[in-house]
Symmetry: C2
Subunit: 306 residues, 2 copies
């Protein structure tokens, strides 16, 4: 499986348009050892021809232009065979609306995420311009399903979606939500090699079942949003603690670094990194801690072959 990180930052990206925190101001001024990042999205393929995206970030246009295998080979064409959504948060699905030029699209999502996107949104009609414009495949947590290639039939990949503790998107705050399946992670497996990737970019709680599953995968992308529980408060940008935003922090007695310490997965990557997170600075003590614990920090353009 060929995996390319197209975007590695949390919602807003790094730097974030209205943020002048230490990290954002420093990366703009060039005074920090840090690399700008677009919003979280990865591309993967078994054969290098049929590609799938995990999430569709608002930065999708520049992300697709950054990676030639995702570019058209004919007058109207895309090698993207499907887009899998982990949630209905705008940083995960808004990019779908940038793919609106009458190109047939295939989207995989839970019934909750699909309903949240199509049912109350006039904008979503831009992806319903003709019969067959957008095909939604329902992801059912716990059920393995094949990822289909329109060009080749079998893409060689299967996905196991898994429900994780999360929260409804902010635009449902105070409104009834269309279901309960708000946040999922994926185990994507390649049929021929048996290799697999775990993708959990938003996680509020780590269960024993999750740890057992992660023992079996070859590569793990995990929620690296916040270093600490009170990071936004410390940075002076928000009053919310990480758990109120449904993200487990990396550090601390209940953090992911410790909770995943004994997981046997050989390659681990923190992704969906918020602009306030000190691990974005290449020379920070916090970066050193995650590196020493054999974690990598995702950056746009990073690739893996498993």
């Amino acid at each position: 499986m060929w995996i390319r990180v197209l975007g590695s930052a949390a919602g807003g990206g790094f730097p974030q348009w209205n943020c002048g925190c230490t990290n954002c101001a420093g990366v703009r001024a060039g005074t920090l050892r840090a690399t700008p990042r677009t919003q979280e999205c990865i591309a993967l393929s078994a054969d290098g021809k049929s590609w799938f995206l995990l999430n569709a970030s608002p930065d999708i246009r520049v992300q697709l232009e950054s990676f030639p295998p995702l570019q058209p080979q004919r007058t109207r064409h895309t090698p993207i065979e499907g887009i899998l959504l982990t949630s209905g948060d705008l940083d995960h699905c808004l990019g779908l609306l940038s793919l609106r030029e009458s190109q047939p699209l295939v989207v995989y999502a839970t019934q909750t995420v699909r309903a949240g996107f199509v049912e109350e949104n006039a904008f979503a009609r831009t992806l319903q311009r003709f019969d067959g414009h957008t095909t939604w495949h329902r992801l059912e947590p716990g059920r393995v399903q094949a990822l289909h290639s329109s060009q080749r039939g079998n893409s060689g990949l299967t996905v196991l979606p898994l429900l994780v503790e999360g929260k409804p998107p902010l635009h449902f705050l105070g409104f009834p939500t269309p279901g309960e399946e708000h946040t999922i992670g994926f185990i994507v497996s390649e049929s021929s090699s048996g290799k697999s990737l775990a993708y959990f970019s938003s996680v509020a709680k780590i269960t024993e079942r999750l740890c057992a599953l992660l023992d079996e995968v070859d590569l793990l992308f995990f929620d690296g949003t916040f270093w600490s529980e009170d990071e936004l408060i410390q940075a002076g940008v928000d009053r919310k603690r990480s758990w109120e935003l449904a993200h487990l922090p990396i550090s601390g007695v209940n953090g992911s670094l410790r909770a995943l310490e004994r997981v046997r997965c050989p390659a681990r990557v923190y992704i969906h990194v918020n602009n306030t997170n000190p691990i974005l600075r290449d020379d920070s003590p916090e970066r050193q801690i995650v590196t020493q614990a054999a974690w990598q920090v995702a950056v746009d353009g990073m690739e893996f072959r498993i």
Copy 2:
């Protein structure tokens, strides 16, 4: 007035994600003399401190990062005092949803464009997280109004919105539209100098009244979407003629080049240029024709002071 072109391409940008036409394939391969362009948006300011955007393109994140005067000067801040929309087309307003990090926003739009954005869109609720999150000012075609600066009161700028022949956004195709004021252009004037800018990035028809107004301005941005009426058909990407998309082509007996020939405005710029348009190639005969007629072709990063 200080004017900066943040984006100069029509919807989809240049190159467009699923397009392999001569222009898009050539600019990706580096075999054409052409510059990539993001989707149409300009920034303007009377004092270099309070800024206004005309349109909010899906590329807004990279556009704001490309121009330091639009970046925050404190932990949470933006120098953007208002965003004026010419239409409810997604390439003109989707970027608003990328400005959702709890920053108070001011948007100027007709009642039709406002209703199309807020009334049927669950996504739009992400800009209504608290009282005063987004303030909508109604633009009434034909009525001059001041652009307000929250920091300084008077921004030194006024806007005259003018209704132009256009069409409802594609996501209203087959649905009732919330009014008639779908497409407008602007005359933005600086009170102290009397200098003014005309901005008409989507125009289906040029009237005598419009020509008379353009006689009086110092700088004109005009709809440069298509070179010819059958450009999309020739490129093999669509069956629609330019008039079906509510854009007057540049060339031809009814084109804008001829219709605006006698307008006295001293500086003219084609903007909202579609990826199929031959004027995107720096050395094309079509570029030579517009250049000889004293028109410029907008490119990201271009600036004017009037």
